[in-house]
């Protein structure tokens, strides 16, 4: 008898249980064991019970502790015994912890494969109508705890702007504490650094695009200069932030028509 030792990473996509692919759902239905983690990204509408109804089986939700401190032992043990699906928000393997688990599985002789899902990376670029090949490196803006402000995000936005590249900024998530950074908090952090450094690169006149709840029926995409963006109500999380650089005319057209940007952004067309 061939031992069915297999671990399949399945992406859940962006918003709720309807964002899994037909292929992903098939794998879940065929699986002996199903695990899910829901802390690396916030899926605003996800109900695990609804997903269990679709899947016609029990889903075990794993915590950060089980996955990171205990190296996913429970998932690997299940995968040694039978076909195991591990559900993750977005597209699998974007979070380092999933790559780590995949390496551990392969080293333990467990076959792995991936069923991809929609990711906020391409979703945010597309929703803003900004061209993928004009993005420089992306960055996460972390919460400022104990007054310590990480300056790397600011430096990356600056380097990208100087190279005329857009920047995709992921905003910090602390699912255990139910803390999700807002666009407003992220902007205030970056403005604070610019002020302290007495630089005029990121100011109240810098263009930004905020995207809230991508993939849901209540997706909001709004482009404006920071002073206006700070007063805009983006609503509940998750939020993501883009710093556009110089714009192609079609990008400007997209921001004006699809993200309610003011006409004055046309001055950034190059």
């Amino acid at each position: 008898m061939v031992l069915m030792s297999k671990l399949i990473f399945v992406g859940l996509g962006l918003h709720d249980e309807n964002d899994i692919s037909l292929r992903g759902l098939k794998e879940v239905k065929r699986a002996d064991f199903v695990f899910a983690e829901i802390y690396t990204n916030l899926m605003g509408g996800l109900g695990i019970e609804k997903l269990e109804d679709f899947a016609e089986k029990k889903i075990m939700v794993v915590s950060r502790k089980m996955l990171e401190d205990e190296n996913g032992r429970q998932i690997l043990a299940a995968a040694q015994k039978g076909k195991t699906v591990f559900l993750v928000p977005g597209d699998p393997l974007i979070a380092t912890t999933h790559v780590d688990l995949r390496i551990r599985a392969e080293k333990a002789g467990i076959n792995t494969c991936i069923v991809h899902g929609a990711s906020i990376i391409s979703a945010a670029m597309g929703l803003a109508g900004l061209q993928n090949y004009k993005f420089g490196r992306s960055v996460t803006i972390p919460f400022t705890d104990f007054g310590v402000i990480a300056e790397t995000p600011y430096d990356i936005v600056r380097a990208n702007l100087k190279s005329e590249l857009h920047t995709l900024c992921f905003l910090d998530i602390r699912a255990e504490e139910r803390r999700y950074m807002t666009i407003k908090e992220a902007l205030e952090t970056l403005l604070e650094i610019g002020k302290r450094r007495q630089e005029s690169l990121i100011t109240r006149n810098t263009l930004v695009v905020g995207v809230a709840r991508a993939g849901s029926k209540k997706t909001v995409v709004k482009a404006d200069f920071i002073d206006k963006a700070l007063t805009y109500d983006f609503g509940s999380p998750p939020h993501i932030l883009i710093f556009p650089s110089k714009l192609h005319f079609m990008e400007a057209d997209a921001l004006i028509n699809l993200a309610k940007a003011p006409e004055s952004i046309r001055k950034l067309i190059k």
Copy 2:
């Protein structure tokens, strides 16, 4: 009576008709008209007839000519009349032509919305086990026609390597001619430019990762130095190519364990 004027862009994901999300399929089933384009990306296993079976309706496949030269008039006319779904490979709005159509629709008073799908952008990063925030700007390597070689891709890989950033290289697709650039062709083009410029940045000793048929059961991910990668049989398209820069130790671990890289790549760990 409210006129149901609506255009929904639905991402088909990476490989075949099973990569659509449950949400996407629901929208297709509810639609009055369904269009699809299948030329901006190759979905190796997609059968439009199978998709029509799932959808329980006819799908009209649109050509590049209909979408670009005629500005998608047919799709917009349908969307004026009833709920219309436009199916696109990958995640919608990554191709400029989709953004253009969305702007035209909104300007014509047609409501638009997006159902996201898996994109090769995040899929390739994840399959290689390379960290998203270490990628610089991405680039497309075009076919060299009439002996003219575009040097921009080379310059972008070079700039990223100098900034210690990875580069995701999309390979040219000419669906009408059924021409899909292979990893081998892309590497030969870049080596040729390096040779002509007498530079030693991209040489036979440069590490690359080739990804073929992402999202299919026959996905191949192979990391090696160019001289070896040139002789590797990646099989049928679509192909995609990554130039990794300096590696985090877990990235090296991923390339060795998940992409069969030689142990000697550990010298690139920083």
